[in-house]
Amino acid sequence: MIPAKKNHSAFVRTDLLDRVGIYLVGAVLVVIGDFVSDEFLTVTNLLSVLNAVALLGIVATGMAFVTYSGNMADLSMPSIMAFSGIICVSALPLGFTVALTAGILAGLLIGAMNGFIVGRFNANPILWTLAVTFFMEGFMRFAWSNNQVYPDIEPGTAGFKLIGLFRMSIGSVPLVVVVMVLLFIAGHFVIVHTRFGIESKLVGSSKPAARTTGIDVSRVILLDFLVAAFCASIAGIFLTSMNKLGVFYLGKGYDFKAVTAVVIGGMTLRGGRGTMPGVLGGVLVIGLLTNIMTFMGIGAFEQNIVTGGVFIAVVGLHQRQLCRRGKDYA
């Protein structure tokens, strides 16, 4: 798209500011929040912020892998969420464990298709996943005739267990927050310490270079999309559990929300750059921002404007910093 400025400072180690940048924004927000209300810096409030962004965090973990490997975004993630949720509810008569497995497998199926076609045939990831969104929506509307499917809510049934999944907590920390944190830790470990993570980075940085090094590029991309689908199906099952129903439009809007979180966290859309802790920071900043603005009594419309502004500003600053060090476009 744009010629990369070839500069040897690409080899300069990512400096500290790059790593903690988004946490600085977070810290500023915390100070503002503390200033706005005494209730802000309480365990209850911070836990509720975490709880509210937990699903976004899970989706963003998956999205990060797609972005990191240079595939920009997986727009089919909302479909995967809805599909795994609806399959999970439909499979409940077979038992709780079977239903969960079926839900995740259903999501992985879409992920595998995405990964295969993008990886093997080099299809444009955004357009392909957009097409998947369309026909999955058509399929789910058709198969469940535009209806919501409800699980059983009688105590003791599999449906009751499914609904309890979102409401479960370990100590005072909700299960979904724990899952989010675990996924982030796992994601960080995979990206930094495993062969697959390092291959993803190389594929994201330059596909031809990765190919000439002997990396099986299509396999790496397939795996990246599978990870994304796995995270999306977990989020989808949690979302279904929270809403106590499965329906084709569940999860709508998570695609762009997740991209926002990933990019604000310092991962660049061109791939190969960024960290998992950064993405977690991005997710937290989005949660804190909404929370503080609600505390200040700012309405949803103005919140949109501020969120969009902060998004562009943070990414813009990051970009300036990259440019100054002679790196390419974000």
């Binding site: 744009i2 919501q148 009594g297």
Partner: protein
């Protein structure tokens, strides 16, 4: 990317001669598919091939077509602009909002400037800020949507001057009203500019090969700026024309999203590449027409929205796969230096051999193309078969054709929840006098909302078609429903059951919450010439010109579900549906009683752009002002009916207001209820009184469990049935009431069992 192929140039030059058929197919795929679909539908589907329907398609495509001009330009430059949909809505809103003050000319110019301004900001951020355009425009999309909602206060806007709208719609030449002519002129003009002038060609070089553009002395920044401003400008123009054509603008953000998606799909189908350097405005226009024809044709067959979106997805997938395949083939022969090879071969080996190697790939592509075409033919054939075999036996359903008609009473029909669909109407709503100037009163007074709450009660109707007076049996009615939602699935169920009882034929078109689509479907419904149209508006204000269009065509029309604005009521026989304001006044009293008429409360609002956004907020506020003046409204906001958003919102309120907050009024009992209950559960408050608009299964379960105090009873099936019932009454020759409400009831723990199982 194109520079990689320069070494293959001699061969591709030769290929052009020998495989022109294939090249022709590929180059004109949008046009060919369009023709194929058009011929297929014309042969297989009745009502499709008519002058009126062709105009409908051309008119319906105009919004997306104009947006796609700028969008193609952005694609040629190798960028992306996600903000076009939001810009369409903002500029439409600006042109409508300023029209009463400044007149059409200036307001449309300002709308254009708005679009150009947003484009300029996008351009500056991409060029000077050096940020990826995907990110920049994602950000501006969110910002522009916020600005649009702020400007319109979450509601829709309308002007009561239809002269421009009428002019835009009346054909000047056969088939071509000005709105289509304008679109065509713009498309042709921009095609010629881009393909035939040096300035236009420069866009291709800048987008396709930045390095040679730099070498040629073309300033990349300048062209990028021009591209973004151009894109903003066309989006602004499209919005202004769309708004002028409807004399109103909706603020439901679905329009923005759908416009963006449709245009994106169309531009890809038209042959543009995301990596830049390729694209053609005219082909994008054909692709927009292709998609519009597809939706129109499938609607004519009577298949649902799920089929439309499914085929849309398959088509896009095929195109993306095909592009990928072409690229894959090019990658494969990339390093082969075939030009060099050919030079050495020329003397010794015959050309045929060399061509044989090359033609393999071309044959593959040709096969793929054939498969795609066969697929399309198959789809068309499936429609035809569906039409022939499935649609006719439907009539068998009404078996007992004897004297049942005289015995049948609509009051005996019951919904899945065991409640009767309709009750014999007795109560007459007493309507207070209209205040002299409602808008001058503060929002917290009932009078301010008079025009919305009592829309249609003292309106002078325009001349309506007169009833044939020969009863409902055998009449054809078309339902234009607002969109898909489980509520609407239940609605259609009640609608169909009632219509079958009256032996009426029905056809249902789904607007998918998109104003643009509903406008197209209105024309489509008129084209069918049914005996009656039942119209469930996507937008209470913006539906006025559509109802007007139906009535002008001489087709009787009943509005249903969402209460249209006062102006729109002029153009329909009657309106039937839930009394949202009345229900919420009842609910507010129940709420106040439970709170002892004191304490603070907050309201979680409906989606902006919908009529409950106001009804379910201001009915309780104004009612509580009178009934329980000591109660204090602490906060109100929307979370777009999402569970996670509501949870976040309510959690923040609970923390912020603490014990002050004792009650919550919710605009929905589905996801909103779930989110609220989650927030309350984690805050461990037990004393919060919750009332909500009902009645889904989630809400009823909450009432039954004691989590919520009360919800309203709004029978979705009854909503559909009452519209048909009213239509049947009209066919019998009875005079209709202006407004017919569904029965009002409040569900509490005491009576929740009689409403189980839930309809949706």
């Amino acid at each position: 990317m194109p520079n990689e192929f320069s070494q293959n140039e001699p061969i591709s030059g030769m290929r052009r001669n020998s495989y022109s058929v294939f090249r022709f197919l590929d180059n004109h795929r949008a046009l060919l598919l369009l023709l194929l679909l058009f011929v297929g539908f014309s042969v297989c589907v009745p009502n499709f091939f008519s002058a009126y329907n062709i105009t409908t398609i051309l008119k319906g495509a105009s919004l997306n077509a104009i947006v796609s001009i700028g969008f193609t330009l952005i694609f040629i430059l190798g960028q992306l602009d996600l903000s076009v949909g939001a810009v369409v809505m903002l500029s439409g809103m600006v042109s409508i909002g300023l029209q009463p003050l400044l007149g059409w000319t200036i307001s449309i110019v300002l709308a254009l400037l708005t679009g150009a301004f947003v484009g300029c900001i996008n351009g500056l951020l991409v060029v000077k800020g050096k940020i990826n355009s995907f990110i920049v425009t994602l950000g501006t999309m969110i910002i522009v949507t916020g600005v649009m909602h702020l400007y319109s206060k979450g509601g829709s806007m309308a002007v009561e001057d239809y002269r421009l709208a009428d002019w835009l719609e009346t054909p000047l030449l056969p088939l071509l009203p000005p709105i289509v002519l304008l679109t065509l002129l713009l498309v042709l003009g921009c095609t010629i500019f881009l393909n035939r002038t040096p300035w236009g060609r420069a866009f291709f070089i800048v987008g396709g090969n930045p390095e040679s553009a730099w070498l040629a002395g073309l300033g990349r920044d300048r062209y990028l700026m021009a591209g973004f401003i151009g894109c903003g400008l066309t989006a602004g123009l499209a919005g202004a024309i769309f708004a002028a054509g409807l004399s109103s603008m909706t603020s439901a953000a679905v329009l923005a999203n759908r416009t963006l998606m449709t245009v994106l799909v169309a531009v890809i189908m038209g042959g543009a590449l995301m990596s830049g350097g390729k694209g053609c405005v005219l082909k994008s226009y054909f692709a927009v027409l292709l998609l519009t024809t597809l939706f129109n044709g499938i609607g004519c067959v009577g298949l649902g929205f799920e089929v439309q979106i499914f085929i849309n997805g398959i088509l896009l997938a095929l195109v993306v796969l095909y592009e990928a395949f072409v690229l894959y083939q090019r990658e494969r022969i990339k390093g082969q230096r075939s030009a060099l090879l050919m030079e050495t071969i020329k003397g010794s080996v015959s050309d045929r051999n060399e061509e044989g190697v090359e033609s393999m790939t071309d044959k593959d592509r040709f096969v793929l193309m054939c498969v795609a075409i066969v697929g399309i033919v198959a789809i068309v054939a499936i429609f035809a078969m569906y039409f022939i075999h499935v649609r006719i036996p439907v009539r068998v359903l009404s078996k007992p054709q004897e004297k049942e008609q005289s015995e049948f009473t609509p009051y005996a029909l019951r919904g899945t929840d065991g409640q009767p669909y309709i009750l014999p109407q007795k109560e007459v709503k007493n309507v207070p006098d209209r205040p002299a100037d409602p808008k001058a009163l503060p929002e917290t007074e009932k009078g301010h909302w008079w025009d919305i709450e009592y829309a249609g009660w003292n309106i002078q109707k325009v001349a309506m078609p007169s009833s044939p007076g020969d009863g409902p049996a055998g009449k054809r009615i078309v339902l234009l429903k607002a969109g898909d939602h489980p509520y609407w699935t239940a609605y259609v169920k009640g609608f169909t059951v009632m219509a079958q009882a009256y032996k009426m034929e029905t056809k249902i078109l789904n607007g998918n919450w998109n104003m643009d689509l509903q406008a197209q479907q209105t024309d489509q419904a008129i084209n069918e010439r049914p005996d009656m149209v039942i119209f469930a508006p996507v937008d209470a204000t913006a539906c006025t010109p559509l109802l007007r269009r139906i009535t002008k065509a001489g087709i009787p029309c009943i509005a249903s579900n969402t209460i249209p604005c006062d102006e729109a009521m002029k153009y329909c026989l009657a309106w039937t549906g839930p009394d949202d304001w009345g229900q919420f006044r009842l609910l507010a009293r129940e709420f106040a009683d439970a709170m002892g008429k004191k304490g603070g409360y907050a309201i979680v609002r409906h989606m902006p752009g919908s009529s409950p956004f106001f009804a379910r907020t201001y009915a309780p506020i104004t009612e509580l002002m009178e009934y329980a003046p000591k109660m204090k409204l602490l906060a109100m906001d929307t979370a777009n009916l999402e569970a996670e958003g509501t949870m976040q919102l309510v959690s923040a309120w609970l923390t912020l207001y603490g014990d002050q907050l004792q009650g919550l009024v919710l605009a929905g009992d589905g996801f909103t209820m779930t989110g609220t209950l989650e927030a309350i559960r984690s805050s461990q408050r037990k004393d919060i009184v919750i009332v909500a608009a009902g009645n889904s299964k989630t809400g009823m379960d909450a009432v039954k469990a004691g989590d919520a105090l009360a919800i309203t009873y709004q029978s979705a099936e009854g909503d559909g049935a009452i519209a048909v019932y009213t239509a049947a009454e009209w066919f019998d020759g009875n005079t209709l009431p202006l407004v017919r409400y569904l029965p009002k009831q409040i569900i509490t723990q005491a009576n929740v069992d009689q409403f189980m199982p839930a309809q949706w």
